[in-house]
Symmetry: C2
Subunit: 127 residues, 2 copies
C-alpha cells in the first residue's frame, strides 16, 4: 500500500515520537525533540513534509491540530530493512547476520551456533 513513502533520517526522528505518542500537538513534538536542537521552523517543516507524504495525518477537531502516524513502525522498518539489505548486502540476510555476529561479543561457541542457524536461514527474502 504505502510502499512508495520514503522517510528521511530527520523525519524518522519525528516518526519515532509519533509512533510512541500518537495524537500530539506540535508543541508536544517540539518539546519532545528539543534535544535535537532543531528550530521551531525545522520541526514544523518536517511534520508538514510527513503530512504531504501521507505518513502523518492531522486531526483538526480542536483548534490546535493533533498529529498521528498513518503508517506503522512495523511496516516502515520492514521496508527500510529490505532496501538496506538489498543495497548493502546484495539481498543476503545471512551475510548481514554473519557480519553482526562478527561484530558482537558472543563466545566462540555461541557464534558457531548462530552461524549454523544462519546457514539454515539461507538467502530468502531476495528483492
Amino acid at each position: 500500500m504505502n510502499n512508495e513513502i520514503n522517510i528521511s533520517e530527520s523525519e524518522w526522528t519525528v516518526m519515532e515520537y509519533l509512533w510512541n505518542n500518537p495524537m500530539v500537538t506540535i508543541t508536544e513534538i517540539r518539546k519532545a525533540l528539543s534535544s535535537t536542537g532543531w528550530s521551531d521552523s525545522t520541526i514544523k517543516t518536517l511534520v508538514r513534509r510527513l503530512v504531504s507524504k501521507n505518513a502523518v495525518a492531522i486531526n483538526d477537531e480542536a483548534a490546535t491540530f493533533r498529529y498521528y502516524p498513518l503508517i506503522s513502525q512495523q511496516e516502515c522498518r520492514l521496508k527500510e530493512t529490505k532496501s538496506f539489505i538489498n543495497r548493502v548486502y546484495d539481498g543476503s540476510v545471512s551475510m548481514l547476520v554473519t557480519n553482526l555476529a562478527a561484530d558482537s561479543n558472543l563466545t566462540d561457541k555461541e557464534t558457531e551456533e548462530l552461524l549454523a542457524l544462519i546457514e539454515k536461514m539461507g538467502n530468502e527474502q531476495e528483492k
Copy 2:
C-alpha cells in the same frame, strides 16, 4: 578515517563492481553496468563523484585511466549497518535480528535458539 564518506544508492552499484573488479577502465564499468540502463554520462558522473568523495582513486599510468576503490566494502558495510540500525532500530541489534528471524523461515525450535542467542547479544553496538 574515512568515516565521513557517504555513498548514495546509485554509487553503491558502482562501488560493488569496483570492489569485485579493482583497476578497471570506464569502459569496463560501463559494460558491467549496462543492465542498469544508465547512460554513459550517468556512469561517468557517478564515478567522478566517487572520486571527489575519495571513495575511488584513479590510476593514470596508462592513457586510459583505471579506477580502484579507496575504501573497503567491509568498512562501508559496517558504517552503513551501524547508521541503519541507529536510525531504524534505535541502535538495537537484537531488535533487528528479532525482526529478521520473524521474517525468515526458521522452524519454531530454530527461532527459539536464535532468539536465545540474541538475548545474549544484548544491545552492544550502541551509537
